[in-house]
Symmetry: D2
Subunit: 357 residues, 4 copies
């Protein structure tokens, strides 16, 4: 069997998750890993059996014995690394998002196109057994034509304010996954977005120009309507559910739990909390997405999450932010790289407006 020789840029949390999958996938060979914190790279190399630690990104990306690279470094490095990897002829798995700036996204995707390498974006939730089951129900016609979509996506706790300041805001650090899920499930693109949002969890989040609670209404090309429900705090844990109403039925998924036990006492019927956050909740999907990427190379077929799949959720995020800022529905087609709608400027404008009001 053909084996793919793999290098990883970034030995942080998600880098280690992927390193582990590489080490246990019989179609993958763990070759090299690198990180700005060399000790972190060395530890990961040792635990997951990578042959060597590369001195830096460039050395790793240009190693002749590596066929595919996993970009697991911070978001601001993604576009540059995609371009370098593409120019070096490596297949690329990149964590989402590519960038917050549409022109940089387009620049990266052009490099991939020119090089003819494969690119897969890290929208791991598509590989979760629950959402995959929903997708299947829609794709096979099990529930008929979809009419209404609900995505509930709530974090257990807000991230630190320091993160909120640089993340691009909730629509880009959190909703981006839900934008992808909406497209993935419905098999349709979104034409118009209306955002109702606010700061209901922590005023400090508002002070740095972000929101923490939102209902985002989506109008799909086929007339279907969807909503995304986001909150940066659900005290009972990580809340990840979807529901789709179709012409022949509906499908809905519940949360995932560490155990199925139900306890009945004189006070209540209860069960333990669901998985607290994404590392437990989506553990299997992280492995599945990487196996799919490796299989795409081995079998030379398209990756299941393309560069375009990485670009469109950013467009949607920009539209959602503009809708929030201007208090009106916004068409996704109105967002383009040439407008002032990059998230950076949009965010700046948003902050200005808030300062004024």
């Amino acid at each position: 069997m053909k084996k793919i020789r793999i290098g990883i840029v970034g030995a942080g949390r998600i880098g280690r998750v992927h390193a582990r999958t590489v080490s246990s996938d019989s179609a993958a060979v763990p070759v090299a890993i690198t990180d700005i914190d060399r000790a972190a790279a060395e530890d990961a190399a040792s635990v997951y059996g990578f042959a060597r630690v590369a001195d830096d990104n460039s050395q790793l990306l240009n190693s002749p014995d590596i066929e595919a690279v996993l970009i697991c470094s911070s978001t601001n490095t993604h576009a540059d690394l995609i371009v370098q990897a593409a120019q070096a002829g490596k297949h690329i798995f990149c964590e989402k998002p590519i960038d917050y700036d549409l022109s940089r996204i387009d620049w990266a995707l052009e490099a991939v196109e020119r090089a003819g390498v494969k690119l897969q974006l890290g929208f791991n939730r598509r590989f979760d057994a629950n959402f995959a089951r929903v997708k299947k129900a829609i794709a096979t016609g099990e529930i008929g034509t979809p009419r209404l979509l609900h995505i509930i996506s709530r974090d257990p706790e807000p991230p630190p304010i320091s993160y909120v300041k640089v993340s691009g805001g909730m629509f880009f650090d959190m909703t981006i996954h839900d934008f992808d899920m909406a497209r993935f499930l419905m098999g349709e693109d979104v034409e118009e977005i209306f955002t109702a949002a606010g700061v209901l969890v922590n005023p400090e989040i508002g002070e740095v120009g972000d929101v923490d609670t939102a209902i985002i209404t989506l109008r799909f090309a086929n007339g279907g309507i969807g909503i995304i429900d986001n909150c940066r705090q659900a005290v009972y844990g990580y809340d990840q559910r979807v529901e789709v109403l179709g012409s022949k039925g509906s499908i809905s998924t519940g949360n995932c739990y560490p155990n199925q036990a139900v306890i009945s006492t004189s006070a209540e019927i209860r069960r333990d909390l669901p998985f607290n956050f994404f590392m437990e909740r989506y553990a299997e999907s992280f492995a599945s997405e990487l196996k799919s990427f490796i299989a795409s190379i081995v079998e030379d077929k398209p990756t299941p999450v393309t560069g375009e799949d990485g670009r469109i959720p950013v467009l949607m995020g920009i539209a959602a932010l503009r809708s929030y800022k201007e208090g009106r529905p916004v068409k996704v087609s109105a967002i383009s790289a040439t407008t002032a709608d990059s998230v950076t400027s949009a965010k700046r404008a948003s902050r200005d407006q808030r300062r004024d009001s």
Copy 2:
């Protein structure tokens, strides 16, 4: 439409439940009610629109304008009242059990037979929507041939010791319903019973010769096996479930709740307790059984719970008690009116044995 003129003996809790159903059933006319506590009868008559209060049982049972009587007085009066009512030519609805003494049961059933009147026993649970659904699944072949039956039947709290002393014991005051349910669901009679039981809730229950916790294994005529799980105390409320495994599938029913709400907090996922006891849990079934009785008379068809259905669970109770007493499986066919196995003597023997041990 033909209307049935009805009299009720007993204006206690269950008498009032039936009085209310009579008052709202368009096929029934509330004629008379009686009770040893005349004030209770008068109140019920006023609230539920009964035309008169009878002076005593005899006067009511012999009223020419009454076609059917509901016997809702204490168990020790049932057999006598059935005989009197039958002799007066009235159709009879009688609360369970007919009696604890097989010879008295047979005497009462013979009177019914001789008079040619209808008799229905108050096994209301057969009319519960959940158990009726299970019955339907078995009767229609939806789950194939039944192999294993579980009946979970637990009370929220033990009754007062004064009640335990006169009730005939747990197998007669509580399991009797489950014995009927076992026969009803499986559509088969039980050939052999093995009882594992003990006093795990309250030692005082043991001191008066009864048990409070039991697993009763049933061997059905067709080879199927069942268990009844009884406990006089389930702190979370009234626990009433069944499950049947068949050759083509299984069916199981859960408890019934006052509401469907689920609350998620930082400590747990919880819901409110199920209905606490039989008056709430089986409210609809009490009405349904009586409507069935009335319809049986109007349409002149057999009642859905016959005298034999009232007799057999008593046989089963005697077998269960003997199995417990003797520590071995007991065949139901070995129980007869001529043996010393009336519950009274069995109970006496049981107490003697306990005193000796």
Copy 3:
């Protein structure tokens, strides 16, 4: 105990439901009933024990022996009957909505105010055990400050087109209940409404100027955000759920089922469909709302659903329709009786626009 003497205008489906409750409530005396179909009134009078059938509305409303009237006739008669009943000094229970025209609503409410009689609107869902439990969780602080509200409200099948033509449209014949529920649960009024809606079920519904599917976003006065999900067709039955996310937890309610049985076969784990429509699903709430109304009179306390509670959902419906028509969020405060926003003219405009597009 004081008993309230009651008359009912309208012996159709809901009139009979209330007649039955009156007949079984020991605090109510069924006095008279009337209907344009006299035979219907006579049948109801006979079944539910009403002393007489009134010749017409006027005769009933002016009967000196009646203290309270239940208005169960068609919507177009409500305002007039409220005014007549108020002038006759009767307490009034009126089915929703009062009217679609704000000026007529105000006229009716002024008559009630002037007469000093009690008025209760028939928002029965407030009395459903599930929604009442959600309300309690919010009111007692069990889930902290509410942030996000979901109301799922879907009918099993669309009504006949003939009904859609005269009903005022989906926002008035269906969402009106959800508008009330939103206010009731959150304990806050809605400031702004955005409607995304379409015709996804049956094109004929669009041809008569109505929609059949909608997501309506609500901004509450306290910053909370809600959505109402409506569809005129859910093939699995009547879908009535709510979910509220608060600062300390969430509460959600599921649908109600005729039984709790779960069947497991070689193909699937399944259960029977939920209650199919409102008569079964809300049976108990119809009785509860009327008992509350009667208790309000007996104990001389305010009714639990006031005239204002009847008026505001109509305002919200007008705002939802305008938002749909104009494709932008609309403030409820912008709706007033003096604008051209009565549902009639709004509907006309909507039709015109559709014809143009």
Copy 4:
């Protein structure tokens, strides 16, 4: 960190499961593997990174560079291999059961005792998150004193008749896990067993002297009562549930599913079947038990499932079989190595009896 050097005897299904865990456990070093099918051993060595394939069991068990061995060969070899491994001073993980013959079990356990090595039996279900949660509820007093235990344990399909002939019968190939679970959960030993069993699935199973359906009643030392419900066929999949009623509440666990999706159609509310069999259902527990074994060596502490834990379920199996054969409750204390109760003779007797009847 100390690493344990491991050898595996047997490269079949369960051998490969453990080989995989060894390869990914940072505290274990995969050294050698052997199998009577050398190709199977070579493939497993290659996939899971074992340094070498041993020529035979003896060579592997006597390798000086191996500290612990995993015995994953067929049951009839377990006792011999345990003795050899113990004599070679290796720590031992052995799949259940040790043997069906009590004298051979005792011989093996004595060898372990004499050698002072660690022994862990493969009762993996103790490590399942669901059953571990039940154990915790009992151990911490969350549900008070346990009174009633239900273990539902049903296979999706009967094994081949060829397997039934040599497996020792259902009580030894299937119930053995449930006997262990009963002791593990209740924290008490079983004093008396009563078996009601039959051939309800496939007559061929009866023809070779085994049963396929059983209810086994257990009397615990503390007075608690339990039942084990076994069937060799549950068409909906692998059914593995427990429920415990205690003085302060109950705990119950449901089955595990590949996804949480619920589909609602015009016919039913349904979900996909649970995991079909033990490899999926208990995947995590197989890894957890082995990690526990390795940790027991690294930290030099007792293993969580001892030799005695392996012996007692065999005693219980013999008692269950005798109860079935003789139609009466049997005390576990009555079973000993010196009686004729080894499963072999018991089985023979059972067959004889069946031939006679």
